[in-house]
Symmetry: C2
Subunit: 286 residues, 2 copies
């Protein structure tokens, strides 16, 4: 059996086409949703990320701005800029690109973003709302993974799921979303002793480690769904955690790298920005 390929590029394209229609309706009726990205410093990879977010927002009809700050910008200055964006009614989604330079405390910055504009869902109050079951923004990579799973023809209720990687950006929140979907989740990490046994009995494997070759064909139960969040550059090429070529011969469904989870993450930033703008419209109505 060859796995169904979960083509993130295509799924993201279809999803963005749907968002584009909603943005057009919103622009006709009210205003243009705006995503503003704050970038501190001159990291090349970071600049390329924020540029692609801006382009993606504009491609679906949103407006998007990049606020580029010098490497040596003080924390207080960044906080002041965020306060300005919080108060600006023409800005609906705010992203601060990480990592930040050493002089800036990341959690201070994230706590300053107004919860209703925190489209990454990384501010503590929004993370807390997620766990408390209150309206929030779901972090983009976990949300993108959930969207991909909808295309994997699997009912999550009662399924055994192995999540590898315990970061609060991917592993932990996706474990939370999967638990909410009635799956039974085991959260694995570098100190786990029976990683291979756990993978072998799992109906779904989600690997978010950044270690090419971690998940081999021997680890995968025939028919299992494999989502690869790994994202490592090896010899100039992007590689996931999963031995894709071999695993796709036994899995029921699998994401490629690149073109799997990656395109979904940016799509969900756009999704959350639209939601932020729509919530503002609702609020203005009341």
């Amino acid at each position: 059996m060859t796995a169904k390929i979960l083509d993130g590029k295509k799924i993201a394209q279809d999803y963005r086409a749907k968002l584009k229609k909603e943005v057009a309706v919103m622009k006709a009726q009210t205003f243009t949703p705006n995503l503003t990205v704050v970038l501190v410093g001159n990291d090349g990879a970071s600049l390329s990320y924020v540029t692609s977010k801006k382009k993606a927002a504009e491609a679906i009809g949103m407006s998007s701005d990049i606020i580029k700050l010098e490497e040596n910008t003080s924390e207080e200055e960044v906080l002041k800029i965020i306060r300005g964006l919080n108060e600006n009614p023409q800005v609906h989604g705010i992203l601060v690109q990480v990592p930040l330079p050493e002089q800036i405390n990341e959690s201070h910055i994230l706590e300053e973003i107004a919860p209703e504009k925190d489209v990454d869902g990384f501010s503590p109050i929004n993370i807390g709302r997620l766990y408390a079951g209150v309206e929030t923004f779901i972090p983009c990579t976990p949300l993108g993974i959930m969207e991909l799973l909808k295309h994997a023809d699997i009912n999550l209720t009662g399924k055994e799921i192995a999540v590898i990687g315990r970061s609060h950006i991917v592993g932990q929140p996706v474990a939370k979303l999967l638990t909410d979907s009635d799956a039974t989740v085991t959260l694995l990490h570098s100190k786990s002793k029976f990683l291979k046994d756990t993978l072998k009995r799992s109906d779904v494997i989600i690997s978010a480690v950044g270690k090419p070759g971690l998940v081999t064909v021997e680890d995968v139960k025939p028919g299992a769904v494999v989502i690869d969040v790994g994202n490592t550059v090896v010899d100039g090429k992007l590689r996931g955690d999963v031995d894709y070529e071999a695993v796709k011969e036994v899995a029921g469904a699998i994401t490629p790298v690149p073109g799997g989870v990656g395109p979904m993450t940016i799509t969900m930033v756009l999704n959350n920005t639209l939601i932020a703008a729509q919530r503002l419209v609702e609020k203005q109505k009341n």
Copy 2:
């Protein structure tokens, strides 16, 4: 082999003796830590809980107040009272007893409590800080469980742990703390298909369901540590989730019900209140 009994009553007593000494030092040097509990309505069980919290606080030298409000108090009124407590420098810990009457939205109330006085650790911003790895108050039952485990003579690194129950009050945060302690956690719940298999291979079982008889002697690996958070009244007696009499003959360590997790929860409320007061002293110094 008969299990080591994790005597929560005794462990809590020792812990409170330690807190009492720290409170005495604080009173001599600065001020008396205060825990204020807000109770809305006339639920008998709730009144008994808040009274025992007040008594426990006073027993270790803290001051404690109960603000008793009518059943029909409006949400706005409760919010106003919380704002007053937030601003009152003589109040260091604030608890709002749940459940609240229907007209009051619990999450609105919890979000209003100043994070630095939220000693239950239930406000979204504090839950979020827990997941983001930022200074916070750890919810009291999970914190009490971690303290009990210190007495179980087990090194958590790499251990397989089954947590039963996915509430955001116990199951989810204790899973998070255990993952942080390098254990491999499987979070089980009512929709889990292989609950018994998972229990049987686990080094630690934490059951927080409220279903007497859920964990039987057949489910427990010899030598495993069993923490029973169950708390169900059956024929006037408090019962846990675990078949205690049989399981204690095979487990390595086990908590009784009553006298296991229960006494630890209130102890951790006191612990967090002292921390809140200490953080205020530190803040005033700077």
